[in-house]
Symmetry: C2
DNA sequence: TACAGAACTAATGAATACAGTATATTTTAA
DNA sequence: TTAAAATATACTGTATTCATTAGTTCTGTA
């Protein structure tokens, strides 16, 4: 019960959610005052939440001007993917030794669910399920620093990240990605840490995602 | 000119410096009030600087209790090194294509200077020079996300990180590390991106540094 | 009409004030 | 003498206020 609700953190989470949900779009201006009156609080916690999000890279901040939702250029997106790639590959490699039957089953479950999301061309579901798939082994990697860096990088990316190309192309890549997911599961089953690292590094991220940017 | 000095950022930098310099040690409590009166400012910018540093992982924050300089356990240090390792390996791989003579000469210069620091058993010099050596290629990697993540991770580490073991052992490892540095330079000269990535991943970081923790 | 400059507006940066909680101190009882 | 309870103190969380600056609008002149 030493559980306080620090307003600043509450506000941060709310705003992060709204950005993830696409209610706040890149380049949207976010003023302290608006946040205050929307939540019925004073400027202090609102301001601190905004500074926090800016520090995380979710928002862009210019002195004396204020905050905007960060917009990633295609080049910046590839930069982020490159960082995600190595960290995720490391997470995978580390998670191999913690891989058990329960984890494998769980991953397989999500692979099947992703298949369905692709079949019905459900974009939001794909994004959510794909995240859950990767979270399974990330959560088991036993390195909280890597976990924190990864979730920070992923949180900056809104689902709309992909929506540049046409939909057919998009779901074509999603299919390839889910084949990747099956392969990832098989490598976990074989406990092939090196193979998994190389596959995540060379195939699953930059290579595939560059087609969607 | 459009150059403001935002107090919050000024304070952040000052505190970060003091921590880097070892004037503030792990577990030291840092109260807002102390910072205020030390710098003759109000609580607002002091508080925001502390929150920023906590968000960066340099400080530890407990609600209603305040801020302390973060102390890394041996396990946490290894976690950080593992993250640095993959990101630095990526930075190296990416920097290979930007490697030119000037860069090689600059790196060789630092290798020589590090030799001298080791010869005279100058610990602070070794730390500073080693950082400069790695910064050369990190700055040339062309991926600002990776650069930012790396400098964030490195800033949390104070120079005292190593000081656990006895000094002889320490400088023994430093010698090995500087041999590594020579090898890194040679890989840049050969423009062997893959070789560099593997060397940074498998040898230079976790493996060597685990001996010093 | 176009442009330059001044006044105005709105939002951020910083300071101060108020409220609530954790810690330290003191007091009291066993 | 010691331990527990009560009080006091110090510091954080939040609200409010003042100050400064970016952005806008209005006005006057060419």
């Amino acid at each position: 019960m030493g559980k306080y609700q620090i307003m600043r953190e509450h506000v941060r989470n709310l705003l992060a959610q709204e950005i993830q949900a696409g209610k706040l779009l890149p380049k949207d201006k976010i003023s302290e005052l608006k946040v205050c009156e929307a939540l019925g609080i004073s400027r202090t916690p609102a301001r601190e939440a905004l500074l926090q999000l800016a520090s995380e890279g979710v928002l862009e901040y210019t002195p004396r001007k204020g905050f905007r939702v960060k917009e990633f250029s295609p080049g910046e997106k590839m930069e982020v993917y490159a960082a995600i790639e190595v960290l995720d590959a490391l997470a995978g490699k580390l998670a191999v030794e913690h891989a058990d039957d329960r984890m494998i089953r769980s991953m397989n479950k999500y692979v099947d669910m992703i298949d369905i999301a692709i079949k019905y061309r459900n974009y939001p579901d794909y994004c959510a399920l794909q995240k859950k798939f990767h979270d399974i082994y990330r959560d088991q990697c036993g390195n909280s620093v890597v976990r924190k860096l990864l979730s920070g990088l992923l949180e900056g990316f809104v689902p709309h990240t992909y929506s540049a190309g046409d939909e057919d192309k998009l779901f074509e890549v999603f299919k390839e990605l889910n084949d990747d997911h099956r392969h990832i599961v098989s490598l976990f089953k074989k406990k092939d840490a090196e193979g998994l690292f190389n596959f995540l590094m060379k195939t699953h991220w930059s290579t595939r995602h560059s087609e969607m940017i």
